[in-house]
């Protein structure tokens, strides 16, 4: 006797819940975490190496007074670095995803501002200090391709926040270790 209910008769909420907790998310989120995490690592390094250059990059956006530019130039690269490491390692992965979403929203707002005001700069300052080369002849207005790159990463981080349980990462390893310990106990 077939005891299983036909799929069409499964309530919508149950189907959403099942889809939400589908094991495939644990697999899909691993390359997503790797790509976004490594991108943030690569972005954090030059900013940590040349904090003043990054300060000028921030100042180029003309969104804040020069007085507080240094503080942001000191803190932001370290937040990027720590978040990228935790994101790749899968430790507090949903928390790291929230931080990344926050940073990406900030970057998108800054790029949009530069795009709307047609600010001329050599680069967005994401991976290289833009201020040092500012008087070169290769100044460009910020394009929408940079904006789309950040939007896609925002979606990726949102996906990790919503669906990744951290199974393939430090979070999953800690959960399995706790499970084993409780069984032994």
């Amino acid at each position: 006797m077939n005891t299983r209910r036909p799929a069409s008769s499964t309530p919508l909420s149950a189907r959403i819940s099942n889809a939400w907790n589908h094991p495939v998310h644990a697999w899909v989120s691993v390359p997503v975490r790797l790509i976004v995490g490594v991108t943030f690592l690569i972005a954090a390094w030059p900013k940590l190496a040349d904090p003043e250059g990054f300060a000028w990059s921030i100042a180029m956006y003309r969104m804040m007074t020069p007085k507080y530019v240094h503080l942001l130039a000191i803190i932001l690269p370290m937040v990027e670095l720590v978040t990228a490491i935790t994101f790749i390692a899968g430790f507090r992965v949903r928390g790291a995803a929230v931080v990344m979403c926050g940073m990406l929203v900030m970057f998108i707002v800054a790029l949009s501002y530069a795009f709307i005001h047609e600010l001329e700069m050599t680069s967005c300052g994401c991976f290289t200090p833009a201020g040092a080369k500012a008087l070169s002849e290769h100044r460009e207005t910020v394009g929408t391709d940079l904006l789309w790159r950040d939007v896609w990463m925002l979606f990726a981080c949102g996906y990790v926040w919503l669906f990744d349980t951290g199974r393939w990462g430090v979070d999953g390893w800690i959960a399995r270790w706790r499970q084993r310990s409780s069984k032994h106990a």
């Binding site: 005891t3 299983r4 209910r5 309530p11 909420s13 149950a14 959403i16 819940s17 099942n18 939400w20 907790n21 904090p51 003043e52 300060a55 000028w56 100042a59 180029m60 003309r62 007074t65 020069p66 007085k67 507080y68 530019v69 240094h70 503080l71 130039a73 000191i74 803190i75 690269p77 370290m78 937040v79 670095l81 720590v82 978040t83 935790t86 507090r92 949903r94 928390g95 790291a96 995803a97 929230v98 931080v99 926050g102 600010l119 001329e120 700069m121 201020g131 040092a132 500012a134 008087l135 100044r139 926040w161 919503l162 349980t165």
Partner: protein, 318 residues
């Protein structure tokens, strides 16, 4: 609704729930990550050699745009400039004689010659300034020379550069004080004490035709800086008096006289570069056979007959 009997027999899978709790806890973790990263960043910044001050000191009420991205050269007016500010360095890009004639208080000397690059030692000092220092370049009256210097310095990676609008002239028009340096003038010289070194400011041809015994040749050139090798040699004997002479009489006010007198030009180059004990010999040197007026003494070392300059002071130049 799912049949509880079937559910009890594990025949119908219980629907998994949306992990609302985990999603909310993620925000707590996010806050923890940000706080810990901030503490680590501030500690790292305090320990590193090229750490930044937390707040960028802005001596001017500047809200933007940043100098390097503006289409025009970043200008600062004389009214807004405050010499003596610890976060501000004023750099005079005029040539030595103009610099000595009157410069902004505490201004560094970084001459912008027509055919030579900037002094590397001074550029290195500018690069080693603490992070966040603002550099204001001052020219004579316009901004052309200072703009050239700014472009050259930006090319070497310096930032936070401004040009003083209207140059030193604009500063002077506001009635603000200028610092000037005078060079002592010796009207007539006789003999040669052992602690005195003569510097011949004439051109190559005149020097080859004859010069004072033991004189160092440092020809006057307003297009090029003095030869570094000669400056190094003179630095080795910095305690001795350096007397610069030329082949033509010194005007009454050499610092205001154009074209620049060769002896004054060379002496100004030396004084602007920090040499002490530099003086100018007003008496022109016309040839090796020229008799001296002072009393001759033996043993190769002679006392010097120094007459006061026309205004009665030891130094003729103001």
């Amino acid at each position: 609704m799912t049949d509880p009997v079937l559910e009890e027999k594990n025949l119908v899978p219980a629907p998994a729930k949306i992990p609302w709790r985990d999603l909310v806890i993620a925000w707590r973790d996010a806050a923890l990550i940000v706080v810990l990263s901030t503490v680590a960043a501030l500690a790292f910044n305090a320990l590193r050699a090229n750490g930044l001050p937390w707040l960028r000191y802005a001596p001017f009420d500047l809200l933007g745009p940043c100098p390097e991205i503006a289409d025009d050269i970043p200008l600062i007016t004389a009214k807004k400039l405050k010499p003596g500010d610890p976060n501000l360095v004023i750099v005079d890009v005029r040539l030595a004689w103009d610099h000595l004639g009157g410069h902004l208080p505490g201004a560094w000397f970084l001459p912008m010659y027509e055919t030579a690059s900037l002094d590397e030692a001074v550029v290195a000092r500018l690069k080693n300034l603490k992070a966040g220092t603002w550099i204001v370049l001052t020219g004579a009256a316009g901004t052309a020379t200072a703009e050239r210097a700014l472009t050259a310095l930006v090319g070497q990676g310096l930032r936070g550069l401004y040009v003083l609008e209207g140059g030193v002239e604009a500063w002077e028009k506001l009635g603000r004080p200028l610092e000037s340096t005078s060079i002592p003038v010796i009207l007539r010289e006789s003999g040669r004490p052992a602690d005195r070194i003569f510097i011949d400011a004439r051109d190559e041809e005149a020097f080859a035709a004859g010069n004072r015994e033991g004189a160092i040749h440092l020809p006057f050139d307003d297009l090029l800086p003095p030869e570094q090798e000669i400056l190094d040699r003179l630095r080795e004997v910095k305690d001795r008096e350096l007397v610069v002479y030329a082949g033509e009489p010194l005007p009454a006010r050499p610092d205001h006289h154009r074209p620049v007198h060769p002896a004054y030009g060379v002496a100004a180059e030396l004084v602007a570069r920090g040499f002490r004990n530099v003086s100018i010999l007003a008496e022109p040197f016309t040839g090796p056979a020229q008799p001296t007026n002072g009393p001759a003494t033996g043993a190769g070392v002679s006392p010097v007959t120094e007459e006061p300059s026309e205004d009665g002071t030891p130094g003729g130049a103001p």
